[in-house]
Symmetry: C2
Subunit: 335 residues, 2 copies
Amino acid sequence: MAEKRIGQQTIILSNPPRIISHHCTVGPMEGRGPLAKYFDDILDDDLLGQTTPEKAELAILEQTINKTLNKKSLFVQDIQFYIAGDLLNQIISANFSARSIDTSFLGIYSACSTFTQGVGLGAILIDGGYADKVLSATSSHYQTAERQFRYPIELNVKRKPTNQHTVTGAGAVVLASDGDGPKITSVTFGKVIDLGIKDVNDMGSAMAPAAIDTLTQHLKDTGRTVGDYDLILTGDLSRQGKKMFTILAKDAGLSLGEKHQDAGVMIYSPQQPVGAGGSGCACSAVVTIGYVFKEMVQGKYSRVLIIATGALTNALTFQQGESIPGIAHAIVIEV
Amino acid sequence: MAEKRIGQQTIILSNPPRIISHHCTVGPMEGRGPLAKYFDDILDDDLLGQTTPEKAELAILEQTINKTLNKKSLFVQDIQFYIAGDLLNQIISANFSARSIDTSFLGIYSACSTFTQGVGLGAILIDGGYADKVLSATSSHYQTAERQFRYPIELNVKRKPTNQHTVTGAGAVVLASDGDGPKITSVTFGKVIDLGIKDVNDMGSAMAPAAIDTLTQHLKDTGRTVGDYDLILTGDLSRQGKKMFTILAKDAGLSLGEKHQDAGVMIYSPQQPVGAGGSGCACSAVVTIGYVFKEMVQGKYSRVLIIATGALTNALTFQQGESIPGIAHAIVIEV
């Protein structure tokens, strides 16, 4: 049984679940970035032979899930919950992927912080004894996001330097009450934070306040300091949002230095035509599953705080003059 | 600690949370229907003085939440989780409503079964000791749904008799580890079920297979029969989906008779211009909060199974020839 959390947002898991299997897939563009060697699969064709980008995103997600299960000879009937979400309207990739997963499905939406919301919820379901195994997955695709949120790609609209590039890819994990793999030891579900930012070309800065809020709340709840973590990975603030995050961290009296990295900054090189960096649900997912887990196994990191971030907007509300609130959910992973 | 659920989907709550406060709001059309006397608030103006239907849906949701809290002098700082979702792209009503709710937010998407997914998740968080109080809410609006999923209302597109009319309204509940009110005693999270139905003008029939799947699984998991419930409320199958549901129930050997009612059928009279009946996230929510809870207090029902249903589609995928999978999440409410 977990501790009660009155006035707090962090749940310390008393039966920390293990990530017993995981897999990540990325597109060709991500495969040309600096993290290429960490990804399990790099696609030659970001359409994966499909006729539309939406069908491609679904196929990438399904393939990633299947590989996650097959890697450890897991079967869908061993899984009590499938939790997933994505950026598309009515989380359609997640919903369609659940057609072939014959277990209780929980659809979630938390924009680009979907990965940590899903893994956090799954961890709680196992910690509380409601499940032995939970599958959680997420996906995003440059082409589906561009045409849904911005313009048809064929228009070739000039991008601003603060724009982010949606990561094409998917990540999936299986959490279990026992087995081998990194442990999820605590979860901090964030609040929706709105500082009134309205620039849809700078989502990174819109999400940074939520990331700081979740980080400071996490440290307060746990009584820990930045020094207790080997890595604090935000995502996907990108270069522009990271600037704002660094300023806000200083204001909050936090000295992050090299401890802080951002998934949106790491996934592409500055030479790639991606504006301020990466974004999309897959961004935090593939950087965590690809880079962080593998470096944990190598012994580089032993306790990592992942703070995935999401910008809460849609294609209509920004035209209606609404601001862009942000949210950030954090999980602690330990080996 | 709940029972493990290997091969099952139902969680029997060992510390059943109470619904200590609830409120429901509906639009003028719903206020002219047969359930009018049960609703807490009936709006004269379905725009609630706002300039766009999206702003109106948000205002209705926020007003409903505030009344839910104020009714029992509850404060946001007493609540550990806010869980919400809606039909709009990127669940924007839910996300925006969370701007003023200073606690951990979990965004969910489960189409018109959002109400039971949210209440079910909240019940588990309390049962497991992760929270003392959880706020869960949902909303829908005829005008926002029409223009997002179908056509601008101004086009006055002729509707088919199997179409459903999206309920304008919102419902909110506060669940608590102790206090007075109906108890949530078990939760059955559904699977995504896809029989390949593609007719977007008949979502009821697309959802009926999911409702049957969840009902039969729930009965199997709990060892109960239809006779153990005073009411089995599906929603929102509507008149057309109810026909399919009744056929499938018969096939499954279930004799439902008068025990079964559907929120989408109940909320409007056959004389109202609503096609086959009501739909939308608010449909199951306001019929449960309005009708069911009040009739439970009056002694008409003591154990009710609510099976909210969702059709998993979006405005793009049906044009791409995709089918419409369904999902149904069930909760048991007892007094």
